[in-house]
Every structure is written in C-alpha cells, then in structure tokens.
Subunit: 147 residues, 2 copies
DNA sequence: TATAAACACTACTGAATAAGTAGAGTTTAT
DNA sequence: ATAAACTCTACTTATTCAGTAGTGTTTATA
C-alpha cells in the first residue's frame, strides 16, 4: 500500500497540474483535495526540496509547479515518498538488500517473479504523467456525462 | 513491500512444492530456507488454516501440501498474509475503502491509474503457481550451468 | 505405558513507522 | 507595521511487524 502521504502528494500535484502556471496556497489545496493542512505543508515542502515544486514566501506567495507536467510521472513521486517500488528488497535496484531464504539469488524463481512485477509496475507508473492524468480525468468526465 | 511473513511463506511453499508428496518438518524447512523456526511455525499454521497445507501431529508427523502445486498461486498467498494487492484502498475489491481526495471516484484518474496497476499485478501473481516457480528455478539453474 | 518427537496455541515484547499536531520562526507585499 | 504566506523543529499516539517464550496436545513406538 502507498502511504497516505504519497497519495496526498499525487492528488495535490494532479490538482496543480490542471493549471500549470498558477500559484497555489496550501490552504486552498488542502480544502479542495481534503488533505489535512499541516500534513500537506510537510508534503509540499518535500516536493519543493525534490525540485518538483517551487514556492514564494510572504504575502501573495504560494506553491507552483517547477517542472513540466508532462515530465513528472508517478514512479518518481512514489519513489520520493515511499522508496522502493518492488515488493521485495532483493528485486530493487536502489534499495537492494539480499535475503537469506534462497541459496542463490541469481536462480531464485521467487525473486524472478517479483522482478517481473516490479518492471511492469515501474513501466505503468512511468507512463502516468501529471499531464496524462489531468487529460484522463477530462476524458472520464466527458464519457460519464454522455451516458 | 511484502511482509517478511509473506515472503517466508512463499519460500516455504516453493520448497515444499519441489516434493509435493513429501511430509516436511518445521525444523527442516526452517534450516533450508533460513526462516526463524518459531516464526515459521505460525506461518505454516496459517497456511494450514487456509487449507493450503495439511499436517500430522506427533512423532513422524509434519506438514504437507494439501493442494496441487499447479493450483496454488502467489496472488492467493499474498492476499492471505498481506491483504489487498492494490496500492490504494479505493482500487481494491475486498478491502475497498473510499478516499476523500477526489470529488468523484468514478472519474478520478489517480484511482484509474492504480486500478490498472493492480489488475496487471494480480494477473502476474496469478500466473505464478508453485509448480511454475519450481520449474522456473530448474530452468534458471540449467541456464546458469550452461554458461 | 512411558517417552520423545512433532505440531498447536496463547501471550508477550521491542522497535519501527505512519499519520498527524503544536507552536514558533521567517519572508514579503502593501 | 502588519498580515499573509511559507519554513522548520519537535512532539504524540496508535498501529504493525517481526519475533520470542512457554506451555499444551497428539502420536508412534520401544
């Protein structure tokens, strides 16, 4: 399961990507997305430190997207908040950790199976950009209206 | 990430599936798979309660597979120990829980994205049966030897 | 029928993490 | 000067994970 922090981050980002030039107040995002304000504060700060968001302090300030919504994908956001995407540490790259349950990692079919799942998941997450998610929401809304 | 409990369970099952008619002692599985004995005890008991394993008490007893290794897959084992496979509660069936970050779940592109990932993961996990994993390990070993 | 070998069960523990909250500090426009 | 914003540190509280301890029950067999 994703942490709530990560899920909140994704929703906040998708919200901001609807208006990529706009500056957003923590308070407003918090209300629109139903995310506890104080918690969101920490989340946006993390995203800023990661270079995804920029901010301006003081009156008239706020948060804004620093990068193109077409170039921010969910794999990146998930890794930022929750670390490894793989289900087992022996099937990760950056967070690799050996396990002791198999005698030879190289021929371990369990690891092999979870590597496949990891790769498929990473591909899907990478294909979900903020831009893509905004457009997808528009498509889903249009389709629903039609019915 | 999978819990260690779940990963241990999978390794124990794959080990047992190499000899589907055999009876295994907790102690032996524990040693071969490097799983803490007391912890493994609880795991095998869970698998027994779930109908995957059977057991015989007393001297000469042990655990054995109750079901055909071709019909036990990883989706089932993961669900048994770790619950939902999806990354977000609004993209699960059995463990469904609404979230408050989107105004309409039906048109939420974040949920949509994680539903796709869940479905892909479930398909892959279902295709990994104990029998398949044992055979895969044989293939990987043969391939390594050849090199 | 005693006994050793196995599984079965209950209860506890210690460490880590998640999900926030509190409160003070800093920057900036007006 | 002041109010509006973001920034930062430190706490809290509950839950879960990973495992351990200790006892109980069943069964083959000498």
């Amino acid at each position: 399961m994703l942490s709530k922090k990560c899920k909140y981050a994704i929703h906040a980002l998708v919200h901001m990507a609807k208006d990529p030039e706009e500056k957003f107040l923590i308070k407003d995002i918090s209300e629109v997305c139903n995310i506890p304000k104080k918690f969101l504060e920490a989340i946006l700060l993390d995203l800023k430190r990661a270079g995804v968001l920029g901010s301006k302090q003081g009156k008239g300030g706020g948060y804004f997207l620093r990068r193109n919504p077409a170039e921010v994908n969910l794999a990146e956001v998930v890794r930022l908040f929750d670390g490894a995407i793989a289900a087992v540490p022996c099937a990760t790259y950056k967070y690799y950790e050996a396990c002791n349950e198999c005698e030879d990692e190289e021929t371990c079919s369990v690891r092999h199976a979870f590597l496949n799942i990891r790769n498929a998941t990473v591909e899907l997450l990478k294909s979900d950009t903020l831009e893509g998610l905004v457009k997808q929401e528009e498509r889903l809304k249009a389709r629903k209206k039609k019915k």
